[in-house]
């Protein structure tokens, strides 16, 4: 009984520590600047204002709020593009690594993992020069190309382990029935692996949404700037109005957090597959 009380109290305490800063972020996003600058601080705004959200949703486009809205769109495009490309090539490659036997199979996996672990700072300068030459600098396509290079090894790794966990008999039965190998993959294996596929897509989306260093260096105009870059800029330039940064932060948080909550059953298993088993 004492144990029961203890674990619930501990869980409540952890929840407060995790949620309190975020609650303040939400409150600040609807507080008047003078409430935020007041001493003593007004924690609860007397007159909540939705003006910042309103501006982000409806502004003309050339001001800060419009730029932020555009950056949300850019982040969505870049993340979806990255997810699409890396899922297709990663699923095909993962299937090969899990089911086909060939020389250098292990070395191939290791090579991909090492590419995944390279620090971005070591690739930054030449990538910048190459993207300039290809006229992909300051473009969403350029970011997708770069992001795909580090999300694909991750997808490969998870999908390989996913496929290994499925019984071979499944696709063998389909192939006896006349399916080709690819046909068996698409019609039999992928539907069974669906939970893992969704989880992997979610992880890839989050990685792309979160990326900052490449986006900071490779984008310059509102056409390509992603959400993290926009928020970093806000923070530097509008340091007097935290409310604006907070409103942007709340909006930037919604897509990844909602996705993670929707797929929360897979988060633990997915992280385990992604790191503990590899």
């Amino acid at each position: 009984m004492r144990y029961k009380i203890f674990i619930h109290a501990a869980a409540a305490f952890v929840s407060v520590v995790f949620l309190a800063p975020l609650a303040w972020l939400v409150l600040a996003s609807v507080s008047e600047p003078r409430d935020l600058l007041a001493r003593p601080l007004h924690w609860i705004p007397e007159h909540p204002t939705w003006s910042r959200y309103d501006a982000i949703a409806n502004s003309g486009g050339s001001d800060v709020a419009g730029m932020f809205r555009q950056s949300m769109g850019n982040s969505v495009v870049v993340a979806l593009g990255t997810v699409a490309v890396s899922m297709v090539v990663g699923v095909l490659g993962g299937y090969a690594l899990a089911r086909l036997r060939f020389r250098f199979r292990r070395s191939t996996m290791v090579a991909f993992l090492i590419a995944y672990m390279l620090p971005p700072i070591a690739l930054l300068i030449p990538l910048y020069l190459v993207l300039t030459q290809l006229q992909l600098l300051d473009s969403k396509l350029g970011l997708i190309v770069v992001y795909t290079s580090f999300t694909t090894p991750f997808v490969l790794w998870i999908m390989t382990n996913q496929f290994l966990a499925l019984p071979v008999e499944l696709e063998e039965a389909a192939r006896v029935d006349g399916c080709s190998r690819l046909g068996a993959l698409v019609r039999v294996v992928l539907p069974v692996a669906r939970p893992g596929l969704f989880a992997t897509m979610m992880f890839t989306f989050l990685m792309s949404w979160d990326e900052f260093l490449y986006a900071l260096i490779f984008t310059a105009t509102p056409d390509a700037k992603t959400v993290p870059v926009a928020i970093a800029e806000f923070t530097g330039r509008y340091s007097a109005d935290f409310g604006l940064v907070a409103a942007g932060g709340v909006l930037a948080t919604l897509p990844p957090v909602l996705l993670a909550l929707a797929f929360q059953r897979y988060v633990v298993d997915g992280l385990a597959a992604a790191s503990v088993k590899g």
């Binding site: 975020l22 601080l41 292990r106 590419a115 620090p119 298993d269």
Partner: protein, 316 residues
């Protein structure tokens, strides 16, 4: 072992004409065909920069449009090893890694135990723990920057209103060591969730009859925590340790957003220092050498990591 035997002579193979008795050239060619797109999008992007950075690290390159880039051998590396700014960044990164990972593991074990405990509304607790993990790093950084703000930050407001502090103080702007610790606090808040989930996976692999046996032998909960849970978690902790070390060596965004490396360069990590030298100072050759030193550390850690995984039976 049995797995090996099955692979050598799977009995049903004779009945399936579509599959050759042993891996033939066709299978290898098909594997190549399936892996080629992945190889293209990964190595097509990565290989050239890796080589180019290595080449630049032995040249004297000042700015992207520099025409005269004389070969200078290892002198960029020699300069790095004699550069007090670099060593300071190394020390700060090491301190950052050790401190943040220590607290993340201590808190992470506790939270993993809670996630595994018979809580009412367990799903709710798990959802709450997921939130900091899913929160974008830059948003988390911007949030903590304002919470720690010296003039109107929420931390100052809270501590003075509760009566723990008489007046506002500067958390990020004055004392470099204090600022570094505040960045670490923000990092621990954000990444403890990830560590907790990784450890939870390890926790769930501990067979429950071990606890049963310990209870029958008269061991209390504390005793069984230290003699069963902790030793059984060691492999997961090693994984977390290496994985988080690789992350902290590469750390850039949270420092950029919370302190911008200041005050007095006191929160610069090696990746951040490299960024400053290469981009602000336009010393691309020197920056390349620095980034190769970072890469060397990351590669060594990665090899340790992959070996640990292989020991645990991963496909490698």
């Amino acid at each position: 072992m049995t797995d090996q035997l099955n692979r050598v002579a799977p009995p049903r193979e004779q009945g399936t004409p579509t599959r050759p008795a042993r891996p033939g050239r066709g299978e290898a060619r098909f594997a190549l065909f399936l892996l080629l797109p992945a190889a293209f999008v990964v190595f097509g992007v990565v290989v050239y920069p890796v080589v180019r950075t290595l080449v630049m690290s032995v040249l004297d390159v000042d700015g992207p449009l520099d025409d005269s880039t004389p070969f200078v051998g290892v002198s960029n590396y020699a300069e790095a090893l004699a550069d007090p700014g670099f060593w300071r960044a190394v020390w700060q990164t090491s301190y950052f890694s050790l401190t943040s990972i220590f607290f993340e593991i201590v808190f992470g074990v506790g939270i993993a135990l809670l996630l595994n405990a018979p809580l009412r509304a367990r799903w709710l607790f798990r959802a709450i723990v997921i939130v900091p993990w899913a929160l974008p790093t830059i948003v988390s950084g911007a949030m903590w920057r304002y919470i720690f703000s010296g003039q109107y930050g929420a931390l100052n407001a809270l501590l003075t209103q509760v009566g723990l502090m008489d007046e506002y103080r500067s958390w990020l702007g004055a004392d470099p060591f204090l600022a570094l610790n505040m960045v670490i606090a923000a990092d621990v808040w954000k990444n403890t969730s990830l560590v907790a989930f990784l450890l939870l996976a390890g926790l769930q692999n501990i067979p429950s009859d071990l606890y049963e046996a310990a209870r029958i032998d008269g061991a209390g909960p504390i005793r069984s925590f230290f003699s069963i849970t902790v030793p059984m978690l060691v492999p997961s902790i090693v994984i977390v340790l290496v994985l988080r070390t690789i992350d902290t060596v590469r750390i850039f965004d949270i420092v950029y957003i919370i302190t911008g490396g200041g005050p007095a360069s006191g929160t610069q990590t090696v990746a951040f220092y490299t960024y400053v030298r290469a981009f602000s100072d336009q010393r691309l050759g020197y920056g390349s050498a620095l980034s190769y030193l970072v890469t060397a550390v990351v590669l060594v850690l990665s090899i340790v990591y992959l070996r640990t995984l292989r020991k645990r039976g991963a496909l490698l």
